[in-house]
């Protein structure tokens, strides 16, 4: 369970250019829930994700996951709970390293990066199997540098990498924004599969209204730093794309 407790993020507090990115936001996300977040640019949804990930710290309030308060920890110490898929596939992978080396690092997200050779036969076999499941034919290219792949392939791999090690929450910030429709579909279906089969909580930010309706079992909308809509699965299912678009006007 992820609990956002009365969280605020104010930039340049007290000055003329004060920005209230988030204002006293509270939300509880159940374990295994697939939460979709929509809102205009600057509404605060990315700020929320960054507060959970730890790239920024809150002005007030706290974030806790599975009973552990994490909002004061630096980003690199939150890895046991939080995993992130970035909007730009380039952010989530080290381009000059091979596919298998990227996976090795992802598999050690919460663990020690020690002085043993972990990139061994057994691990390579595991990566081959995981990658083969994508059906992209990458299982025979695991020694190829990951930067040589297409954006769609990289993003699908990032998603797999995100759950190579144990995690409670998988954050996705517009993961398909840079992808063609076909790759976007592969990535979204993979996310759904991960959520269903591994029971990992997903928080997805998207600007695609179609994706917002099609995927996930709860939908919230941000506006001016506050949550203005919160729909459960049933309410979300009966929502139409026209109604959803009206929220933005």
């Amino acid at each position: 369970m992820l609990i956002i407790n009365h969280i605020s993020k104010i930039y340049n507090a007290g000055s003329d250019d004060e920005v209230r990115a988030l204002q006293d936001v509270s939300v509880e996300v159940k374990k295994g829930e697939f939460l979709v977040v929509v809102g205009t640019n600057g509404s605060g949804k990315s700020t929320l994700l960054n507060l959970i990930l730890g790239t920024i710290l809150p002005t007030a309030g706290s974030v806790s996951i599975d009973g552990k308060t994490i909002s004061h920890l630096p980003e690199h110490r939150r890895s046991p709970w939080v995993s992130m898929v970035f909007q730009n596939p380039a952010n989530g992978t080290a381009p000059d390293l091979s596919i298998v080396e990227n996976f090795r690092l992802a598999a050690l997200r919460t663990g020690k990066k020690g002085l043993g050779i972990g990139n061994n036969k057994k691990f390579r076999q595991l990566v081959k199997e995981k990658v083969a499941a994508l059906g992209m034919g990458l299982e025979n290219k695991i020694d190829q540098s990951i930067g040589s792949l297409s954006g769609g392939q990289r993003q699908a791999l990032t998603l797999l990498m995100g759950v190579m090690d144990k995690t409670s929450v998988l954050l996705m910030d517009e993961p398909t924004a840079a992808l063609d429709p076909k790759s976007a579909k592969v990535v979204m279906e993979l996310a759904e599969q991960i959520n269903r089969e591994m029971g990992i909580t997903i928080i997805l930010i998207t600007h695609s209204m179609k994706d917002a309706l099609q995927y996930g079992d709860r939908l919230i909308m941000f506006d001016a730093g506050k949550i203005v809509k919160d729909l459960n699965k049933d309410a979300k299912q009966s929502l139409t794309i026209t109604e959803l678009l009206e929220w933005f006007t």
């Binding site: 381009p95 000059d96 390293l97 080396e101 090795r104 690092l105 997200r109 990066k113 002085l115």
Partner: protein, 291 residues
Amino acid sequence: MIQFYLTALQMALCLAPMAMGIFITMKVFNIPDITTDGSYTLGAAITAIMLTGGLPVSLALPACMLSGALAGTCTGIIHTKLKIDALLSGILVMTALYSINLIILGRSNIPLINTASIFIKSDWLGSELNGQLLTALTFVGIILTLLIYLLRTDFGIAMRASGNNPVMTKALGVNNDSIRITGLAVSNSLTGLSGFLVAQYQGFTDINMGIGIVITGLGSVLVADAIKQWFNVKKIGRQIMLVVIGCTVFQAVLAFTLSIGIDPNLLKLITATFVLLIVALPRLTAFTKHK
């Protein structure tokens, strides 16, 4: 004549650890580190003072590497914790080291005559130089093996990824700051080792011996980079081996310029020009292609 080039090879092998250190900071971590000039002389200064003091080589070696690591750690801490530009951090530590080296040496030059030496002095291999070459080759071999191993470990993968994409490694639980400090420490301990080797090989330590040595290291890495591009070398282990080859090519070029009778005072100018050429040539050819 052959003797002349073998001497260049010997020098290249002595400088190879430093070049590999520069490869780590420049290519693995993307940090331009020029602490090198200081940590190289530091290694040589400690070697001189310990060996003339009658201490064994087996103590001088770890002392040089540790002090180099310490210098690198200083640069790393200034760079990561105080958020000062890597280049400036290196310059600061390098400048400070000049005084420290002078304090260690006590004067500007210490000859190493009739002191203990890592190099085999006897000529059982045919000549004294052969023995020296063998010793240096063994050292480079050991360092090469250790580095290749290190870069293939989980820690090594984290190091390389951290230089390649720090945003990603941070999200993957890597402390980019401490891994960078470690990288700078490893790199400068190798530089200290080069100082240790060169001091004994040339038979003296001079306070100014480190000036511009970073260019030699950079040049070696750039030559290695050019070879890497030509032959499309991907494997990290092979890339490090290329650095040793790059270092040798670099020294050979310098030896050649000296052999055709160029004034040794112009050596630094030639070194700088050679490095400029290596960097500029690919760009110039790219320019003509676009035309």
